[in-house]
């Protein structure tokens, strides 16, 4: 397998505030994110040669038109990418391939979702087989929490620590959906959604969009961010079973998609000891249990030690391995198709030292990870300063 390391650079990033944008439609959101990214890169729509847009639900739109139409990117290609919650990062990944192949010099990866237009009681999951299917999204991840409690003796309080930490970070980020700190008691006493996951174990249902401008490193060297542009050190994605709960070997203690993608990404980036070499990680905390499992699957702590690792404060902004300095999906929000590019935006700004929320000190190498379905797809991007 070849390597993508250092073959693409990020010229600029943009992201809307995430939240309940009742007064805006997906056009408003994608225009805001894309123009912020283009301004950041110092380019105009005419400079963009091709676009990939991550978008899960067809009620937002179908086809490349989801991005091409609002931005009037006519006369050039736009591809809509759907890969569950990894849609946005898969859009970024495909955009990187296009630049690395030499086909294009400047492309855009973006993502958008307008969840609140269809109401707010969890994600619509009425898809697939009418009988042989999964349950609600919290229900699926709750299965892993129950099993982890059983195997490792974890409790709801272990999960609550994740929410408390993400609310501390989210409170500091001007673009986050939820911007209030919470107490452990509040998290523990919240209404139940899918035992053992209560309301504060579940991420926000949000609207939002994010965009990333990608180019070749030699072009980035002469761009607006010539002194602090960011290189793609690795990008790996792995698909696994759609419905692992029918798979007798699945132990519900971790997701192979993330484990394999992490191994591939670390190899590509030349990372030997991720917990020491990475300065921060934006991981897919769709649910509190998922953040703990992701930390383990990414090799940032040992299998089974995730709850202890969190409880000891390692994942705080000033801890040994800051996780989700943005507030994560929990507080920043999770407009599905937008999340991957939002994470890349956050990691880019962190390693550039210009985080909009809490800044991780001296960050130079960061990781972003999207998990889709019930561990059905995991996408990992590692970004580092060029200098």
């Amino acid at each position: 397998m070849g390597s993508m390391k250092d073959k693409t650079a990020i010229m600029g990033v943009g992201c809307t505030k995430f939240g309940e944008h009742w007064e805006k439609d997906h056009e408003d959101l994608i225009v805001e994110a894309a123009y912020e990214a283009m301004d950041d890169a110092g380019i105009t729509p005419a400079d963009i040669e091709a676009t990939w847009v991550g978008n899960l639900y067809d009620f937002t739109g179908l086809s490349g038109g989801v991005a091409a139409e609002p931005l009037k990117l006519f006369g050039k290609p736009t591809t809509r990418v759907e890969n569950f919650c990894a849609s946005g990062m898969d859009a970024f990944r495909n955009a990187c391939f296009a630049v690395a192949s030499g086909a294009y010099d400047v492309v855009m990866a973006c993502g958008v979702e307008k969840l609140m237009d269809v109401g707010g009681t969890g994600l619509p999951v009425d898809m697939g087989h009418p009988i042989l299917r999964g349950s609600s999204a919290p229900g699926m991840f709750a299965l892993a929490a129950t099993r982890s409690f059983h195997e490792y003796g974890w409790t709801k309080e272990d999960l609550a620590h994740v929410a408390v930490k993400n609310h501390i970070n989210g409170a500091k980020h001007p673009k986050a959906h939820f911007r209030r700190e919470i107490t452990l008691e509040k998290a523990l006493n919240a209404p139940m959604v899918a035992w053992p996951l209560g309301r504060f174990d579940c991420c926000a249902m949000s609207d939002g969009a994010a965009a990333v401008i990608i180019t070749r490193p030699d072009i980035a060297k002469t761009s607006k961010h010539k002194h602090d542009y960011v290189l793609t050190k690795a990008n790996a994605m792995v698909n696994e079973a759609m419905l692992p709960m029918y798979r007798s070997s699945f132990d519900f203690l971790g997701f192979d998609a993330t484990r394999t993608a992490a191994r591939l990404a670390y190899e590509e980036a030349g990372i030997k000891n991720p917990a020491q070499e990475l300065d921060l990680a934006e991981v897919h905390d769709c649910f509190s249990i998922t953040e703990i499992m992701n930390i383990q699957d990414l090799g940032l702590c040992a299998q089974g030690d995730g709850a202890k690792f969190v409880r000891e404060g390692n994942t705080h902004i000033d801890g040994s391995m800051p996780i989700n300095p943005s507030g994560g999906l929990k507080c920043f929000g999770h407009p599905i198709g937008a999340t991957g590019c939002r994470m890349i935006t956050e990691v880019t700004k962190q390693v550039q030292g210009r985080a909009e929320g809490a800044q991780v000190e001296n960050a130079r190498l960061g990781l972003a990870q999207n998990l889709g379905g019930t561990g059905s797809v995991s996408s990992i991007t590692i970004l580092g300063r060029a200098d």
């Binding site: 042989l132 349950s135 609600s136 229900g139 699926m140 035992w195 079973a241 419905l243 029918y246």
Partner: protein
Amino acid sequence: MAKIASFGAYVPLFRLSRQEMADAWGVPAVPGERSVANSDEDSITMAVAAGTDCLAGIDPSTIDGLFFATTTAPYNEKQCAGVIAAGLDMRTDINTSDFTGSLRSATSALRAAADAVDSGSAESILVVAADCRLAEPETMMEQLLGDGAGAVLVSRKGSATLRGFDSIAGEQIGGWRRSKDAYIRSFEAKAESKYGYMLSAVQAGKNVLENEKVEGAEITKGIITADNPMSGGKVAGSIGINPMSLEDVLFFSVGNPGAPLVLMMLANALEQASAGDKLLVVNNGDGADAFLVEIDEAFAPVEGRKGLAAHLAQKKVLPHYTDYARFRSLMKKEELDPRGSAVTYWRDANVALNLHAARCRNCNDVNYPMPRVCITCGTKDQFDEIKLGKTATVFTYTLDHIECGNYVNTAVPRLVVDIDGGGRLFLSMTDGDPDDVEIGMSVDLVFRRLHEGSGFHNYYWKCRAVPEATS
């Protein structure tokens, strides 16, 4: 002559005291309690349960037909027997038929089954009856009804012989329900009892004894259906059999379940019968059917066959009338709108209804649902289609408050279970208290109505905690 090879029964786990029902409406209470089918049960699912009980230890692929009797068919147009046969994993080259419209339909089906066996057109036919009838709220009838199912396997070989069928066609307006009626209606009960019930039941019973040259005193047990504990005794007295020999009509424990009552009573009688016993069955409804059952040898206990008594012994008492009201949808609530597909349902019937899985010939792993490529070793199209077991152990679970995108107050337990003998499934739990679920608990798989997507009954399997007898 046609024999009875096996019998079975089913009573829903839930009971409701008639006092609680009476208190809810401020009306007088009838003594005893009634059985209540869960919201995901109907006459098809209960028929599968009774049929499963009856076929304990018997290979369903050896049965040549299934006759289903009910007055509450979940489909007015579309055969129910075929659904039941699939749930019981029977062959498809069999004779299936629905007998409906009358409380006497179970014995109509039984007689047809015996005729088929006697004529040689079938080696064996499973007769199942089930009902889930609805009475007008606040009426005494609401307290008197119950839900349940019964089954007998009619075969060329068996421990009891069926003899002397006699039928009386009686046109009386006793109880009825027009297609546009939600509830059962009835006219003056005294007139129906005196002229409808008594006349035809007594006539049919007498005919059997006379035609078969059996004295009333030779009858060891009378199985005389009735909707109260008194009427059967009057019929027995008029026929000339010992009123003290009568099988219990389940008045205090189940209520009147309708069409299946006769098979539930027969199942209980057969379980207790000794060699040489003669049973006289008199079933009533728009006339009457009667026949003799001669016990050639006592029915030996069969592992897994509960019969009626064990089903009666396992129960959960519903605390409130509103539980019953919710189960029967007496109050109009917002309906969930899940997606269904008649095409998918048909294509995957062997997976969803027959509960078959695929065992990989290369790595031996059990795959469910059945794939083209093995999820464990990646081998393509090398599978044996196998039957999954119906008992399992919980591997992990959640108590999910989200149902079809809506928040529901009562969480639905969703279980990842390891099937005994191989295979892993993701199923909802029913009949249980969500708080009782734990990893490692044993569950039974039960056939239930999953949802009503696309306007048809989407049946599938659920789990329930293995019921325990409550002394």
